[in-house]
Amino acid sequence: MAAAEIPHDEQAFLEYVQSGGQVETTDWMPDEYRRLLIKFIEMHGNSELMGVLPEREWILRAPTLQRKLALTAKVQDEVGHSQLIYRVVEDLGKPREQCLADLVDGKAKFHNVFHYPTKTWGDVGVIAWLVDAAAIISQKALLKCSYAPYARIMKKICWEESFHILHGRDVILAMVTGTPEQFELVQEALNRWWPPLMQFHGNPIPKDEDPMYQWRIKSQGNGEARQQFLDGYVPQIWELGLTVPDPKLRKRDDGEWEFSEPDWDELKQVVTGHGPKTEERLALRRHFLEQEQWVRDVVLAA
């Protein structure tokens, strides 16, 4: 059954998406579906854009030409992703300027990891390797999103992200096989990034209680995503002789990873705008948005 033929009825629509049905921009959709979709996708766009800020300072400090090029290309991809994502949001009904205005006014959310400071070149490696890895797990699940325009851009996003992780791992490998001080930089960065990484996929709501899953906007539960992350990346961390700062972390015989319960209060605090770097980064964004308003006025006018 094509979406064009579905009656304008929430229950029928729900059954349609739950049986794998795809929705296009011009199709009828329940208001609630549209609202949740915009909120979710907008947060993704905001995250890609805010994710640029912790990393861009290190572009300027990259210690070799190769690393400078790779990091610039990685961050460029994040900006490109935000462009793709905001276009999808705009076609759903919320203009980009409104999204950006809400972002800098602190009215919209972005992922926890981008509220934290970066302190050393070790962070550059850890972010590209592990934060991007955590993100790509969610992004691969979004390839099956019921809203087709979003699923389609996820394909390009996932393809571009694959080099980010490789680049991150290469940065880490150079340091862990370098001087003892460089090894320590990595370990220290990992110690700081581990708690936000464990919070990244969100608190473990059961799938049937998660409206995002009900509408098949997300196709994977939060706990499932976290398990996938641990399964894929803890062995990679351990094999380098690095330690994970969680004494409870272990893989059970049944394949499930056990870990210390992440601090869900901290996560809530941070994503509602109270992270260590939230204010400063939003202020930077606001500053440039305002400073360059004249450019948009001249270029995009008529």
Partner: protein, 207 residues
């Protein structure tokens, strides 16, 4: 091979690439952010290629000299984190660079002329981009003022014998150039930030 001249070109590309990469994430519109970042990466790539012509270790040449040893023109060193000036510099620099590359494509050294031709082909996009912005902003007072501000610096990018060509293309009367050879105050802070991670490990450390 005029090594000093080539070092000047490489340093110009490195420093302007470094300046342009500062816009990653904060350009006026997202589409421009992506395009501008490609231009910055190309410039770094050009710097690397020219350094490689001069030395077996491009990174050492790029990062391990003291600030006074760089041969960059003052134009590229200026900290211009404001769009009118940034795009004015882009446009002026591209025009000057085209004049310079045209001459270099006739260099008797095949390695140099070959590299100049390669760079020139990649620059086609940069020129298209700069012209596009110039056309759009030519009547905008902010932009015209920025071009006039930077004009003496732009002249300093080229050796005296090539400035006539630049004057003709830009359409401004020739003025006293701010010459290559002395650095602006901005170079040292730039160099310090650019090399802070690299200097934190012993020479030859891998990254």
């Amino acid at each position: 091979m005029n090594e000093q001249a080539l070092l000047g070109i490489a340093d110009d590309e490195l420093i302007i690439g470094w300046r342009d990469s500062e816009w990653t994430g904060i350009a006026p519109m997202l589409e421009e952010d992506v395009a501008f970042s490609s231009i910055a990466q190309n410039e770094i790539g050009h710097a690397r290629a020219v350094y490689s012509l001069l030395s077996g270790d491009a990174d050492a040449l790029a990062f391990d000299r003291d600030p006074e040893e760089y041969r960059s023109a003052p134009l590229v060193e200026l900290h211009l984190l404001e769009w009118a000036h940034t795009i004015a510099r882009r446009w002026l620099y591209e025009v000057a660079d085209e004049v310079r590359l045209t001459a270099l494509k006739d260099d008797p050294d095949a390695a140099v002329s070959g590299l100049a031709a390669k760079i020139d082909r990649e620059e086609a996009y940069h020129r298209m981009h700069a012209e596009m912005w110039h056309d759009r902003l030519r009547d905008e007072p902010r932009f015209r003022a920025a071009v006039e501000d930077l004009w003496p610096y732009a002249l300093g990018v080229l050796p005296a014998e090539l400035r006539g060509e630049l004057v003709e293309r830009v359409g401004l009367a020739e003025v006293d150039a701010i010459e290559r050879g002395t650095h602006t105050d901005e170079l040292v802070p730039l160099w310090e930030e650019m090399t802070v991670v690299r200097r934190s490990a012993p020479a030859g450390a891998q990254w």
